[in-house]
Amino acid sequence: MRQITYREALREGLKEEMRRDSNVFLLGEDIAEFGGSYKVTQGLLEEFGHSRIRNTPISEAAIIGAALGASLAGMRPVAELMYIDFSGVAMDQIVNQVAKVRYIFGGKAKASLVIRTQGGAGRSSAAQHAQSLESWFTHVPGLKVVMPSTPKDVKGLIKSSIRDDDPVFFIEHKLLYNEIGPVPEEEYLIPIGKADIKRPGKDVTIIATSRMVLRSLRAAELLTEEGIEAEVIDPRTLVPLDEETIFNSVKKTGKLVIVHEASKRSGYGAEIAALVCEKAFYDLDAPIKRVAAFNTPIPFAPKLENYVIPDEKAIINGVKELFR
């Protein structure tokens, strides 16, 4: 199978959906001639023109509000928030408007839109450009939250998200854009709400999201030297969460480690841990371990940034704690 980058796969997904459905259009800061801050939309202007590849002012509330209004009028907008950190500026639109219109209007409204954004550390972007804020959005009923880790997943999921009639908050990672992986040439979709077992194993379940999937897979390889076969699961979608795949794995391994780049306190790992405790507690033979970032803002200096974000060693140590 051909190998392409996460960025290329994502761009292909956007292109295919725009060709398929003339109601799909993109709006965001610097997405047209400039091609987007991380070049995801590069080249799309040439094919689709300014009407459907719409540069906006630096006005995050206006971007999300316009996406919502357009979706209520029958369009399928894909709005780009350049950094997930900027969502704070648009939080009223995301939380009070996009997530609520269907409910407060008694089921008559459809907010069929996608908010694409990216988060994560690793480039010395510091505290306002490197956060992992997914749990802000998983906490709000009305949104779906998607967080793909591979080129194949990002393409299949952006296509499903655009076709979905509910609003999808789609979180990419700035250090995944250049990652290469196999992506089918033929068209495919990946369903929202389906986890993927990235590596089967029998001894411990590692649930990881976004860039931490890659680190967990490397950690799992290293763990084989210690005789531990880890199963690595990527939920891919946080809302709705594929609980079944998680519970089946925990039933098999009896041990659960959750890895995410967001700071540990009230991170999504807490939700997964609570669900497993509520519904699969008796399948566990060890406490649940969370491996997550320290509860700090993301520091600038590379040495500090590396320290607060979990690496392979932290994941390995987390797993080994359960085998004492």
């Binding site: 259009f25 009407s51 459907r52 719409r54 906006t56 002012p57 006005s59 995050e60 509330a61 206006a62 999300i64 509000g65 316009a66 996406a67 919502l68 209004g69 357009a70 979706s71 209520l72 009028a73 029958g74 369009m75 907008p77 500026v89 009223d92 639109q93 009070n96 408007q97 219109v101 269907r102 409910y103 407060i104 209007f105 008694g106 089921g107 008559k108 409204a109 459809k110 009923p141 009305g142 779906k144 009639d165 509910d166 809302v239 709705p240």
Partner: protein, 324 residues
């Protein structure tokens, strides 16, 4: 000169809003309605004058003080009343209440309870019309208080740069909740801000329904022709406090309220119609009686309607099923 049928429509709409609001206040004070209620009594001319320039396929978005705007766009008063009671037959099945009434079939994109948010959402609806090449337009109602939000700035700027077919109508009732306009902004006329966005700003008497009708008509025509947005400020007065039960005595005088009540928009227009000899007292009394009956029937409909079932709380969050 406004044609006779339009004159009847304007008068009927104003009376319908007046009677609806008076009845809602009465029911609220009797403790029959849950939640809170923001009365638009005194502001009827803006809703009636502005919406009567629209076609059914044009869009509006309104505010927490939105009953008048929604009635003027053609919403059914019985389903509105049922919503105030929190009944299943209400426009939002009892899930939205007074501040969220919407009728998507009439392209009423609801009333949004967060001050200023509609200024961003309306742009999307207008953009959809522009992209589809229709000549539909969109009206965004908002208050003087909203003119100090970031959403006002982002919304007007985006509408201006994209030449969107939007008419921004500021219902300047001189108070942002309890804060007088002279305290919350340095300028006297919100319309002056149009200049800052490169769009036309007009300031008119919001208690003169014919002035509202004529000014809005012109703005609507310009928008239909692709000449972009207009900001219209309508000076008016909120007869009651910010919410029903707010005596408003801590921030304004009874004398001021009485002075404004002398400029009752409904009475002013009635006098005008009689002066122009378009209608007799008897004609207008008949209209009043018929609408009074309509409102009484709306109350009966609302009161005799079923309550929602508790399970309904879990529906209409997503187009798909409830996500636990």
């Amino acid at each position: 000169m406004i044609p006779k049928e339009k004159s009847v429509e304007l008068y009927e709409t104003m009376v319908r809003i007046r009677f609806f609001e008076e009845k809602a206040v009465e029911l609220f004070l009797k403790g029959r309605l849950p939640g809170f209620l923001h009365s638009s009594l005194g502001q009827e001319a803006i809703s009636a004058g502005a919406c009567s320039t629209l076609r059914e396929d044009d869009y509006i978005i309104s505010t927490h003080r939105g009953h008048g705007d929604i009635i003027a766009k053609g919403a059914r008063v019985d389903r509105m009343m049922a919503e105030l009671f929190g009944k299943k037959t209400g426009y939002c099945k009892g899930k939205g209440g007074s501040i969220h009434i919407a009728d998507l079939d009439l392209n009423i994109l609801g009333a949004t309870g967060i001050v200023g948010s509609g200024l961003c959402i309306i742009n999307g609806a207008a953009l959809a019309c522009q992209m589809k090449g229709t000549d539909q337009v969109a009206i965004c109602f908002f208050g003087d208080g909203a003119s100090n939000t970031g959403a006002f700035h982002e919304g007007l700027n985006l509408a201006a740069i994209w030449d969107l077919p939007v008419i921004f109508i500021c219902q300047n009732n001189l108070y942002a909740e309890s804060t007088p306009q002279r305290v919350h902004q340095k300028i006297c006329n919100v319309s002056e801000r149009g200049l800052g966005y490169g769009i036309r700003g007009q300031c008119i008497d919001g208690n003169d329904v014919m002035a509202v009708y004529e000014t809005t008509s012109e703005a609507v025509e310009r928008a239909r022709k692709g000449l972009g947005p207009t900001l219209i400020e309508c000076k008016t007065y909120r007869w009651l406090g910010h919410y029903v039960g707010d005596p408003s005595t801590t921030y304004r005088t009874k004398g001021e309220v009485e002075e404004w009540k002398k400029r009752d928009p409904v009475k002013l227009y009635r006098a005008k119609l009689l002066e122009m000899k378009i209608f007799s007292e008897k004609d207008l009394d008949e209209i009043d009686q018929q609408i009074e009956k309509e409102i009484e029937e709306a109350v009966v409909f609302a009161q005799s309607s079923p309550e929602p079932e508790v399970e309904d709380a879990l529906e209409d969050i997503y187009v798909g099923p409830y996500i636990p």
